[in-house]
Amino acid sequence: MDEATINHLLIVGGVLGGLLIVAPGLIWLERRLLALWQDRYGPNRAGPFGVLIVLADTIKLFFKEDWIPPFADKVVFVMAPAIVMITVFFSFVIIPFAPGIIVTDLNIGILFFLAMSSMGAYSIILGGWASNNKYSLLGAMRGAAQMISYEVFMGLALMGTVLLANSFSLVDIIEAQRGMWFVIPQFVGFVIFFIAGIAETHRLPFDIPEAESELVAGFHSEYSGMKFGMFFVGEYLGITLISSLTVCLFFGGWLGPDFLPPLVWFVLKTFAFIALFILLRASLPRPRYDQLMEFGWKILLPLTLINLMITAGVVLMREG
């Protein structure tokens, strides 16, 4: 093996390993932050600041009975949680963590991400369908409708940055932000992308497919043990993915003053957005299903279209 191959394998392993550490770490972070915002302590017993609670949770998940309900469609039931993990991991392929630290710089980077996040909807639909349970099915239907409709604005909101950077590749988009982060010219795009991102990862306040208080746990009520764990990890990786994409597209990725290395800037910015995700969960109630749809199609869609048209006009004017 030559040096380039080894280097590449190192990056792949590093990204995979880093993500597998981050995903359970986020569970601890979320519980601590939620507790902080609710005047509690959260897990603080096991290990320093309670970090080892993650280990305890993981061990517990592994030793739980891995139950497949007799009424479920077994093959699909087992496949569904794998899909969510695979699609999220694939999406990370195109994320540039720092100059040179990227698994592959696809020239269709953003399109690849959009494709993968659409595939992620399958895990919800298949999981809810295979569970053969009315609550799961309801959650799956809601999830499908929510993810497909928010996919539309997500893609359209991104097109503004693509127009400005003149490329689908995330590395090019970050390089194009050397002068100014795209959050300033594309503020509307940023807000809409972030809202759509919350809906895509079906996090609170848009956790309508799960809706613990209405649908028990929605599409994954029949899942237990590590299969449930995979849905869980997929969700937390989804948060990381949306946060890092927001950073790449609107907040200059690894760009930042020189006193910190680029990778540290990227991680810092990403964690700021993860904290914002958790703050949203701590403060906002869940909207009704029809409210969510109305908000999407009647407000966000026209806004993204106007944003896209204005951006396109400005780009054309500058060229002409």
Binding site: L36, D39, L279, L280, S283
Partner: protein, 171 residues
């Protein structure tokens, strides 16, 4: 839109609030004297058992967790032969304390009675009986009741006149 940002800001500012959590094993809340916790059987000032085995506590108990058997000693004093409280059933409602005519059964401010074995939650008389008077010091049922027992005849209780010989009242 404004209200969403405002509620997020308010939640964010909670970061700087004092946390409400009581770090229990290290830091304990003060329990008031009337706190209803572990049940004890108290003694009178002369160190005799207050319980007279009247079964009123067992009758009042809504979850039937008290069982006892009354008996009498050679002086005619009633006392429970056994007294058993199943604390895995007890709901600490305090009805037994209210029902007790002799202040024998009392709930005290202690709740740390966890056990690994469920059987250990069944408290026998030796576990319940304490060498103290609890909340009502100085009260001795047989000293104020008109009942005659060995060593104390009728009329010898506190604030009690000697019994009147009804025949002496005949005209």
């Amino acid at each position: 839109m404004f209200s969403i940002i405002r509620s997020m800001w308010i939640t964010f500012m909670h970061m700087f609030h004092k946390r409400e959590t009581v770090q229990y094993p290290e830091q304990k809340n003060k329990l008031t004297t009337r706190w209803r916790g572990r049940i004890v059987l108290t003694r009178d000032p002369d160190m005799g058992e207050r319980c007279v085995g009247c079964y009123l506590c067992a009758a009042a108990c809504p979850v039937d967790c008290i069982s006892l058997q009354a008996t009498e000693d050679e002086h005619g004093r009633r006392y429970p032969e056994f007294f058993r409280i199943n604390f895995s059933r007890c709901i600490f409602c305090g009805y037994c304390e209210e029902a007790c005519p002799t202040y024998a059964i009392q709930l005290i401010p202690d709740f740390e009675m966890g056990e690994y074995d469920r059987q250990n939650l069944v408290y026998e008389k030796k576990d319940l009986l304490i060498d103290g008077q609890g909340k009502y010091p100085g009260y001795n049922y047989y000293k104020v009741a008109g009942l005659a027992i060995g060593g104390k005849d009728k009329g010898e209780a506190q604030n009690e006149d000697p019994p009147v010989d009804v025949r002496s009242l005949l005209p």
